[in-house]
């Protein structure tokens, strides 16, 4: 039964902006060590779902449990510390830092406090920094962009930025990784590479939730898919089930019967 354990449980989640209900009574269970696809038309509430789970927006109603602990209304940094990492749809990197430093910045909560270490453990500090650097380099290698390490992020193109974002989210060794459209703007080859990366992340024991509009990607890598439409969960199941679901076909793929 180990397999079936849910790492993230969302119960009756609601989020409204003024009069607009972006999420309506959503229940989702994310199984541990699986890749969970999240799809839906534009404005369905996928990014909002991420924002609420990661603590950027407080939910209007409902509860969120992560590793059986309630995280509803916790501050975002606290949630991150508990092991949820995410990327952004149009995530910003720091332009005047190198790629390496950008990735290193993802390892915030497990690095030493510089002032404390300055006064009390001056000798250790250098080593700790070195460790962070090593793991950042490993992460870049894992993603397959290790030769970017010393480039300035302002020089990167869109696709490369997406990859750096993933590396930055991954370096804090999260238990749950939420990717918001990781392959948007990518060509076929790049998408395939990202697909491969996501699989390898899963194999490391990290649960992944992916939002994407790329219908080549989602069904192929997801173990399970949830479909949102106008803030409602309209379908959930294995990729095969989803691809046959008429509601999904109509609302999302635009194929009429």
């Amino acid at each position: 039964m180990e397999e079936e354990m849910a790492i993230l449980e969302v119960k009756n989640l609601c989020k409204s902006f003024g009069g607009l209900q972006a999420l309506k009574n959503i229940d989702i269970e994310i199984q541990k060590n699986k890749i969970h696809g999240l799809i839906g038309p534009n404005g369905a509430g996928k990014s909002t779902f991420f924002n609420v789970v990661s603590g950027l927006y407080p939910p209007t109603d409902g509860n969120i449990y992560f590793k059986s602990k309630e995280i509803t209304n916790l501050p975002a940094e606290e949630i991150t510390r508990m092991g949820i990492s995410r990327t952004f749809q149009a995530g910003k990197l720091v332009p005047n830092l190198t790629v390496l430093d950008n990735v290193m910045s993802g390892k915030y909560h497990i690095s030493p406090n510089p002032v404390k270490s300055f006064f009390f453990q001056p000798s250790q500090f250098k080593n700790q920094e070195k460790d962070i650097k090593t793991s950042a380099l490993e992460m870049l290698k894992f993603i397959g962009i290790s030769d970017f390490a010393e480039r300035w992020t302002s020089e990167l193109v869109w696709v490369e930025r997406q990859l750096v974002q993933i590396a930055r989210a991954l370096i804090s060794s999260p238990d749950l990784l939420m990717l918001d459209e990781p392959t948007s703007g990518m060509g076929i080859d790049e998408s395939k590479a990202v697909m491969d990366i996501i699989r390898r992340i899963r194999n490391m024991g990290i649960t992944v939730i992916v939002v994407s509009h790329d219908m080549n990607l989602i069904p192929e890598i997801s173990d399970r898919i949830t479909v949102l439409d106008f803030g409602n969960k309209i379908s959930e199941g294995s990729p095969e089930q989803i691809q046959k679901d008429p509601r999904v076909l109509e609302a999302y793929l635009g194929e009429n019967k």
Partner: protein, 284 residues
């Protein structure tokens, strides 16, 4: 060493400290002018404690630093994560309030000022050893998780939060460290000058500190050093009829730098290109 060099180095050192005090919170995008208020408060405290109570320098110095930290802590509870211009106005108004309080406080000399502060005779050694220590600390902060997190906060707060950065706490840390440095600088200033007047801590000092930070470059800690010495030296380098236009020169420098090198004279990319000689453009 001649007297001129002594004072030049002394002031430049104090301004480097103050420049760093301004630099640190600007890492998270806050222009913290509270440092000038802290400097004024601790300078007066230091002067008074030395002359009236005869406290030893080292005790005064430590209390001064703690003083700065305490003031910053109280304020940062409210403005730890405030936007830039809120912090600006909090700083400006505090400078003004502190100045007025001193002006009306007869025990501190009021508007006349405070004279004859006793203290160590060679301040230079003290200033520069503290400068070295603070420099190390700032360097370490820069090259730590805080420095990197600050860069992220500067660009996008939402991203920073999801990296696990507690923005308010980070801002508070920076403000506290910055005001502690300013508190230290205030004490050093009082003992270097040996008298105090409310006129010493004014709006023009803020302008000067801005000049130091932005002409030197706000993305690294080194720019402050360069420009503190350079700007402090301008009036000494030029003949007096040119030097008398120094406010115009400072203003023009600010404008020119913002136009031509928005990140200041010393930028991260520049440091990097010194550090790594080999070509870094990796073409695929």
């Amino acid at each position: 060493m001649s007297e001129v060099t002594y004072y030049f180095l002394g002031f430049a050192g104090i301004y480097v400290l103050m420049g760093w005090a301004l630099y640190l919170p600007y890492r998270v995008g806050q222009l913290n002018f509270l440092i000038v208020a802290c400097m004024a408060i601790t300078a007066y405290f230091g002067g008074f404690a030395a002359r009236e109570w005869g406290w030893p320098f080292i005790v005064i110095l430590i209390i001064g630093i703690l003083f700065g930290a305490t003031i910053a802590f109280i304020f940062s509870l409210a403005i730890g994560d405030a936007p830039c211009f809120t912090v600006v106005i909090v700083g400006l108004t505090s400078v003004f309030i502190v100045k007025t309080v001193i002006e009306n406080w007869r025990t501190l000399g009021g508007t006349i000022g405070f004279f004859h502060i006793p203290g160590p005779n060679n301040m230079l050694a003290i200033i520069y050893s503290l400068l070295f220590l603070v420099g190390l600390l700032v360097f370490r902060i820069d090259h730590s998780r805080w420095g990197r997190a600050a860069s992220v906060v500067f660009i996008d707060r939402d991203v920073a939060v999801t990296l696990g950065v507690d923005i308010k706490k980070l801002g508070m840390f920076f403000q506290i460290i910055s005001c502690s440095i300013a508190g230290m600088a205030g004490i050093l200033d009082a003992f270097l000058v040996k008298s105090l007047s409310p006129e010493f801590f004014t709006f023009s000092m803020i302008g000067y500190l801005m000049c130091i930070l932005f002409v030197g470059g706000y993305t690294t800690m080194w720019g402050v050093i360069l420009s503190a010495f350079f700007l402090q030296g301008i009036p000494l380098m030029f003949p007096s009829n040119i030097a008398s236009w120094r406010l115009v020169i400072y203003g023009a420098l600010l404008v020119i730098i913002i136009l031509l090198r928005p990140e200041g004279l010393i930028t991260r990319k520049m440091l990097w290109s010194i550090k790594i000689k080999s070509p870094r453009y990796i073409t695929n």
